[in-house]
Amino acid sequence: MTTLTKASRRDFLKIAGSSVGGLVIGFSWFSCDSPKMEVLSTEEILSQAKSFNSYLSISPSGDVVIYSPNPELGQNIKTSFPMVVAEELDADWEKVRVLQANLDTEKYDRQLTGGSGAMPHSWERLRKAGATAKFVLVAAAAKAWNVNASEITVEKGIISHKGSGKSGHFGEFVAEAATMTAPEEVTLKDKKDFKIIGTSVKNVDSKEMYTGKPMYGLDFYREGMLHAMIQRAPFGMKIKAVDDSAARGVSGVKDVVTFGTSVAVVGESTWPLLKAKKLLRIDYEPDGAVESTADHDRIFADLMLNGKPDVKRKDGNFDAAFKGAAQVVTAEYQCPFIAHSPMEPENFFAHVKGDKVELIGPTQTPDRARQATAQLLGIPLENITVEITRLGGGFGRRLRADYVEEAVEVSRAMNAPVKVTWSREDELTGGAYRPAVRYRFEAGLDASGNMIAYKLRGVGMNAGNCTRENNFPSGAVANVLIESIEHKSSITTNAWRAPITNFLAYAEQSFLDEVALAAGKDPVQFRLDLLQQAKTSPVGGELGYDVDRMIGVVKAAAEKSNWGKDPNVKQGFSVYYSHRSYVAQVADIAMEGGTPVLKKVTAVTDCGMVVNPIGANHQVRGGIVDGMGHAMYGNLTFENGVPKQKNFDSYRLIRMKEVPEIDTHFLDTGFDPTGLGEPALPPTGGAIANAIFSATGRRLRSQPFIEQKEFSDIKLEIRRA
């Protein structure tokens, strides 16, 4: 089906250009000013790329430059966004160049990376940008050739008219096209005619990455720039006194600057600062609760019993149904704080020049970086520019602007351009963690093993709402009670890839297996029965998930994994809906001479249309590796406000030899594309824990698995075929 789409007032289209320059097409989401005229050659378009934010420029030589507004941290948006524009434009992908756009809140909307939301948000807008450019180019060619535009075809950047035998490349028509008015409506392609979308397009930054070009924030250098490293206070503490004499004695250290609860050592290169930071003698004193992990355990136990819950969902009457149940199942699950650990540590460049600020570095939210800076210095937003470098991973860490503010503070104090660099120790001890959470589940079954009552109470450390009340199994159970309790901890937390669901999914999917076992049902059939219930007679109000799509991935995963067919393979099932996508996973453990060997994870994903299969595959496999690694090993414990794990020697990340085979499948359900940076992670811990249970009879109710006593004598091997 061909979609006709109208540019709304908000999505005002802008065409700019001139007879000697290129064609520039952009969306202006918020303004309705008249089209701006620009005179640009290819070189100018490329050299001005940093200041001229548009979606797309086409030069007279036919080169196509597509700007990618969202920060790139490995989710591959810098490749997939331009694919969508190029598709509707019918450009020759080989001639497309992609550039990272700077922050521009007038020209781009939602210029951030988080929530797996970029593609669903921009899908139609990107298509319109490409289709609009194509429309005016075709109109320009029709005018030049004096033929009917409807008889013109476009393929790989070549515009042709069969009747007259005429053809030419995009560049020949940009001058004329740039004088035209953007159409109010454009026709989008029929999905079956897609030539670029749905094909595996390789990363546009491959060459730069594999030859070691400077592209990350940490690689940024400016003549005259100073470096800074910072010692931050333990959680719940403030500075009493600073003795920086030894630190100042390190050759290469220029100054020591104290602000808030932080002490910065400043110099001309990094190594002296790493040394000097260790020589700072800082006395701290309590400034609030100074917490240790033992305190957290007490707080969890107390609040689980006595806390005042925030009721998130209430269907039917849980207490009555639970009391009258033929059989009940209860269990508690818990996860620790963990860090984001992007391989590129936090860093940012700032240059405060009077009331103007230049910011350059890795951020998932350039706008938040700007807002924070404006607030800190009391200057208008317009005085601040933000250039986005490639991000060496993010996982949510770079949604916070704390390290941007630090760079601003030190630049202001030193009256010089400054780059702040965090060490790995800084990253692991510096806060912004995935919150620690404890869940208590209670389920009641009737005499035939149907789940008639389901209760979830979560207690989180700075976790906000630590439940997802409208997710499965809500809607499938007659009596449901979902409650959340928050403890305000001095240990700072932050969104962590698939916030909340990164652990909730594991706890819930493991608990559902416990219930299925009690009901004497096969875990897959148990879930399908519940979903059937949610489909035919949904209970309660709003449901967050589409029941049919969830049934779809459950059935497909059972089929693709050969569920229950091989008695020598012990399997664990898990399914979760998050960030608009559905992922079901099955983990396979084979018993080899009494040793359980984790061999494979099968994943079936419904993320609507797959834009770039190679990239989608990456996101799913990466999400599973991430989910598995943190479920197995990730743990931060605290002693008096300081994490005990300070670097990768004690804070373990998953490695090459610890990943099983991952078999990925995607269901084409005809929906528009949804996000994929996060949804594959939540189901993984549950699939693996359920497989471990089915192989060993040991139920793992806390993470990390390797530190649980139930796991201590299990010699799980992880091996690929």
Partner: protein, 152 residues
């Protein structure tokens, strides 16, 4: 501070730094060779991997004073245009997500293939286990090393 004459990527460079300065920071801060990455600084992740006389080495814990006349090779010295067989395999398999660890991964793979031109999968896993990829591109790294071994 002392002067050190280093042989890096076939060229000689003189730097004036403290003798305990790790090679990593000499490369990054003094010579602008930022392809070699900093991540853990304690020889745990491999992001800073370079070759010293052909051996994959963590440059974050290698003091400049220990290098002497040894030949240092960094990602920038592997090829001008990214056409070293291992780089080509990386591009062909489309290994990277964020890409930050990949220079180190490539340097480890090049060293492996030099000492063992036809590694089996287990040998690849053993060699590459010293490099962490936080994005979890391990399957593709493995695939790319195997491809490079075949095509070199």
């Amino acid at each position: 501070m002392a002067n050190y004459n280093l042989k890096i990527n076939g060229k000689s460079h003189t730097v004036d730094v403290d003798d305990d300065t790790p090679l990593l920071w000499v490369l990054r801060d003094n010579l602008g060779l930022v392809g070699t990455k900093f991540s853990c600084g304690i020889a745990q992740c491999g992001a800073c991997t370079v070759h010293i006389n052909g051996n994959a080495t963590f440059s974050c814990l290698t003091p400049v004073s220990s290098i002497g006349n040894a030949e240092v090779l960094t990602i920038e010295g592997l090829s001008e245009e990214g056409d070293h067989p291992v780089q080509k395999a990386w591009a062909e398999v489309d290994v990277a997500q964020c890409g930050y660890c990949q220079a180190g991964q490539i340097m480890t793979a090049v060293a492996l293939l030099k000492s063992n031109p036809n590694p089996n999968m287990e040998e690849i896993d053993n060699a590459m286990n010293r490099n962490i990829c936080r994005c979890g591109t391990y399957h593709k790294i493995r695939e790319a090393v195997a491809l490079a071994a075949k095509t070199k």
